[in-house]
């Protein structure tokens, strides 16, 4: 997708639904999936005379976010009314923040790409502000009319706005993923993209390198990372082709159609609303004390960026491993528990087992790591037994199987019961080696003639004769000494 003669400029606006029990300005529940309008209170329906009261839990979550991205938490911010008519907007205005948002600035460093081509990129944030969600218009099953469901109306949102810092869809997706990880990490949003708890709007423009910013088009409501990538890539290509064909990009809001993979115009700049923002006289300015910020900061968990750096520095993990293990707080917690049980020296094999066997099995079973049948201490015991030579890596997989299937809970018992212990008795091993050498003169001859591969065949024979219990490294050593001697 990337073309050296064009530079792509992307900024994201992400709406994260805050996981408060009740709505931002009413006491109604925010639970998903109830019967239409069952969760809309008088305030949510905007009956005459009702007034909003700010949910402190939503503010608390905004503060948490601000601290997590190293932003300024505004000591005073203001709720404003964004005025427009729409049937699922019951008051005829949305309460949002305009001139003075609760979170200002901040940055997030993300890893973009894979392997040797991977690089770190720091994205600067403009702001994050609190606002209420609208309801939903339902256009089916109403015989030519529209239905309105106000259950979602008043659900708290944190709108997170980035600077136009991203230069490719890959960077945009990496940033969106990092925020998705972060909001779940600090427990302010459940991150459920299917239910719309985390949705992205992408502002995309293209320009010749070094030129002024091009005219942007905004792609609305992308609710998966795949769609985000596809939509941006389509939009980039569309804009480049349009300009190269002698046309111009006009400012517009577009929607992405996952079925066609294309974006289409929703409204042009001419149709843009004049929202007539003004401070909401029903709500006092939001004042956040230093004490509240300090208390929130003290309760914050270690953040993924810091944890990633620590994994790399203390345990010698690669950037890739450290990022993978900090992709969720649950994975990181699991990993740390395993290392705590196995010891620092075994951090790397613990990481390998978690990212390899455990991840594959969890994925296949569609289970969450918090729900893993194999506990971190069990995994640590398994890793330790491989490391001290008690069992081979292959036997380790059998132990893992047993733990997964609940065929046993103690690693050492499983090893004993299944007879997986490696042969560490050098006398017995030498006897087997002697037998194998006697039985395979051809291979011996070949090896002596300089064919390294012949040794592998002999190792295989010894392993087979030992019924897998011989330690392959030890077998190698004994064979070499006998053949060389």
């Amino acid at each position: 997708m990337s073309r050296p003669d064009w530079e792509v400029v992307i900024g994201l606006e992400i709406h994260a639904q805050l996981n408060t029990a009740s709505k931002i300005f009413s006491g109604a529940t925010t639970a998903f999936g109830a019967e239409a309008n069952a969760q809309a209170s008088a305030v949510d329906i905007a009956l005459p005379g009702v007034l909003p009261v700010l949910n402190k839990g939503a503010v608390e979550r905004a503060i948490r976010f601000g601290l997590a991205i190293d932003a300024q938490v505004a000591p005073k911010s203001v709720f404003a009314r964004k005025n427009y008519f729409y049937p699922d907007l019951p008051k005829g205005y949305q309460i949002s923040q305009f001139e003075l948002p609760v979170v200002v600035g901040g940055q997030v460093t993300v890893r973009v790409g894979e392997g040797d081509a991977a690089y770190d990129k720091t994205i600067t944030l403009t702001r994050a502000h609190l606002e209420e969600d609208a309801g939903k218009s339902l256009h089916e099953d109403f015989h030519g009319m529209s239905g309105i469901d106000l259950n979602r109306a008043g659900t708290p949102l944190l709108e997170i706005v980035s600077e136009p810092d991203m230069r490719s869809s890959a960077e945009a997706v990496a940033y969106a993923r990092a925020l998705h990880t972060l909001v779940r990490w600090i427990d302010i949003c459940d991150g459920n993209m299917q239910e719309g708890s985390f949705r992205c709007d992408a502002n995309v423009s293209v320009r010749r390198p070094g030129a002024e910013l091009g005219t942007r088009r905004e792609i609305k409501n992308l609710n998966s990372f795949r769609f985000l990538q596809q939509a941006i890539d389509y939009e980039i290509q569309w804009q480049i082709e349009r300009i190269e064909d002698g046309g111009r990009v006009e400012q517009a809001t577009v929607l992405f159609d996952p079925d066609t993979g294309e974006t289409r115009m929703m409204r042009s700049k001419e149709d843009a609303h004049d929202y007539r923002y003004f401070p909401d006289p029903d709500l006092l300015p939001l004042v956040i004390s230093d004490e509240w910020i300090a208390r929130t900061r003290a309760a914050l968990p270690e953040l993924p960026g810091a944890m990633r750096a620590r994994f790399e520095a203390d345990w010698g993990l690669s950037a890739y491993d450290a990022i993978t293990l900090t992709s969720s707080r649950d994975a990181a917690t699991y990993f740390e528990a395993a290392v705590a049980a196995a010891g620092d020296a075994l951090a790397k094999p613990c990481a390998n087992w978690i990212m390899g066997e455990l991840a594959a099995r969890l994925n296949k079973a569609e289970r969450d790591i918090t729900d893993s049948p194999v506990s971190p201490t069990q995994l640590a015991a398994l890793v330790a037994r491989i490391a001290d030579g008690t069992i081979s890596n292959n036997a380790g997989k059998k132990v893992f199987d047993a733990l997964w299937n609940d065929a046993g809970s103690d690693v050492d018992t499983i090893i004993a019961d299944q007879g997986l212990k490696q042969m560490n008795d050098s006398g017995a091993l030498e006897a087997i080696v002697d037998e194998v050498l006697a039985a395979n003169p051809k291979s011996v001859e070949e090896f002596r003639a300089g064919k390294e591969k012949a040794l592998n065949a002999l190792v295989g024979q010894v392993m087979k004769a030992s019924r897998g219990k011989a330690n392959p490294t030890q077998v190698n050593e004994v064979l070499r000494s006998k053949l060389g001697g």
């Binding site: 005459p48 005379g49 008519f85 049937p87 019951p90 205005y93 007539r276």
Partner: protein
């Protein structure tokens, strides 16, 4: 009995010489007889009133009655009342029945007051004459060809004509004080934030404040005590302990410093109003008060500032009346935009539309800074003027309205003339201060003149006593119009 004070009514009820049902019936019968000519009530709830009166009688019998238990009351039709329609005097809400009670309504229910019905008003509280009502104008009981003032005209008429011993109102730019003045009753608008706005249909949220009408300052003090108090459902409600607003009544006025804003006395008020006002001030001096000239240099900017801020907030507050969930919906329309425009065109009256248009304009991109932000700056300057003035005086006094009640229709084609009626009252709302109007004399045609008293923030108890002291020495508040 229709002349008795709230205190005397409460005493009679407690003594058992009168039942709440008898009292309610007395007033309901007066309403039946007089409302057709005065049009003070939009809705009368006889059944509800009698049922509440029976409950009050039970409380009186059980000895658990409070000072207002069993006393009839009228609510301005801007307060939501569960089960009784709340129209805001608009076609838009002609058939709207609220599923909940406003805070003020539930407070007074809890106090045992007996609601007789809902009173007429200017549509959505926008107006100074009560002519902007979908249900027709309320009439001034002193001269039924004249306006009673507005927007709480129906409540003022109800108390003036003794259709109810007390009534609630709301005051955004003078809507309690001005009709009180024009009908010869006492009305108080407390400090912004004292009375919860929950369930009070919003006109201009930063200015709207619930208030009380009574035939005396003492009655207003009793009613306000039951209405006021912190309500967590209104974020602008002030978190203060509940107050007994009668607590200062009877304190002597000797030594009281009354500030007279020179701008209020310079020009603009009619001679008869001036004469009555001067006479009232002389009365205060005789009671031992001193008068001192103060200045409110920015007060003249109150009307332009108000007519930017109030319509701006109104344009947004009234957006919820879109015909989607409740209220009037046009019977025929072709699409969504057509439904909105027809429903609102049919549902709102001319003055409401005018203010929505003005408000939409001043908030528009490119005009916001020039109008809305400037108006907010003026608002701060006006408040600072009052704060400075209160370093020289305890209360401020002046006329409530520049004229006595005028003939119905006289100003209804000239909105600016109408807006100027609020010249003395509006600054008080912009500053958020408490204000009160009490009858202080008569002008041309023997029509009532009101004296406005303005207090410092949360100084309602003193303000009420200053009015009470005057009423102890004079009889203006006892005059009753000849209405049968």
């Amino acid at each position: 009995m229709i002349e008795a004070s709230l205190k005397d009514l409460a005493a009679a009820l407690r003594a058992g010489t009168l039942s709440s049902v008898e009292l309610a019936t007395l007033f309901l019968d007066r309403i039946d007889a007089l409302n057709p000519s005065l049009n003070a009530f939009i809705t009368v709830d006889r059944d509800g009133a009698l049922s509440a009166a029976r409950a009050a009688d039970a409380r009186l019998a059980a000895g658990t009655a409070g000072p207002l238990t069993g006393i009839p009351l009228a609510h301005k039709d801007v307060f939501c009342t569960e089960g009784v329609r709340t129209t805001c005097a608009s076609r838009m809400l002609e058939n709207f029945v609220s599923p909940y009670d406003a805070h003020v309504v539930s407070q007074l229910k809890a106090a045992g007051a007996v609601m007789l019905g809902k009173t007429n008003m200017d549509e959505y509280a926008m107006g100074s004459s009560n002519e902007n009502s979908h249900f027709g104008p309320a009439k001034n009981p002193w001269d039924a060809s004249r306006v009673p003032g507005g927007s709480s005209g129906g409540s003022a008429v109800a108390v003036a004509a003794r259709l109810a011993p007390m009534a609630t109102g709301t005051d955004t730019g003078g809507s309690v004080r001005q009709p009180a003045a024009l009908t010869g009753v006492t009305g108080i608008k407390p400090t912004y934030g004292v009375v919860s706005r929950y369930g009070m249909i919003a006109y201009a949220s930063s200015l709207d404040q619930g208030g009380a009408f009574g035939r005396s300052a003492e009655d207003c003090a009793l009613l306000l005590s039951a209405m006021a108090g912190f309500d967590p459902r209104d974020s602008t409600s002030v978190e203060r302990d509940t107050e007994d607003y009668t607590r200062e009544l009877g304190k002597p006025l000797a030594g009281l410093r009354i500030g007279l804003p020179k701008e209020f006395f310079a020009e603009g008020m009619d001679d008869d109003v001036r004469a009555a006002t001067e006479a009232a001030l002389e009365q205060y001096r005789q009671l031992g008060a001193t008068t001192v000239e103060v200045s409110l240099p920015n007060a003249k900017l109150a009307i332009p500032a108000y007519y930017v801020i109030a319509p701006a907030e109104a344009s947004s507050n009234l957006s919820r009346f879109d015909g989607v969930r409740y209220g009037h919906r046009a019977p025929e329309y072709v699409d969504l935009a057509d439904m909105y425009s027809k429903s609102r065109a049919q549902g709102f009256g001319a003055e409401v539309k005018r203010r929505i248009l003005v408000g939409t304009y001043v908030l528009s991109h490119g005009y916001y800074d020039a109008y809305y932000l400037q108006a907010q700056k003026l608002r701060r300057l006006i408040a600072e003027d009052f704060i400075a003035a209160f370093t020289h005086c305890d209360v401020i006094a002046g006329p409530t309205s520049p004229t006595v009640a005028w003939p119905i229709g006289e100003k209804s084609d000239d909105p600016v003339q109408m807006y100027l009626q609020d010249i003395y009252t509006i600054a008080v709302n912009l500053a958020g201060l408490p204000g009160l109007s009490l009858p202080c004399g008569t002008g041309a045609g023997d029509l009532p003149v009101g004296l406005q008293l303005i207090g410092n923030y949360f100084d309602e108890a003193r303000l009420l006593n200053v009015a009470h002291g005057f009423q102890q020495a004079t009889d203006w508040h006892r005059r009753m119009p000849a209405v049968g």
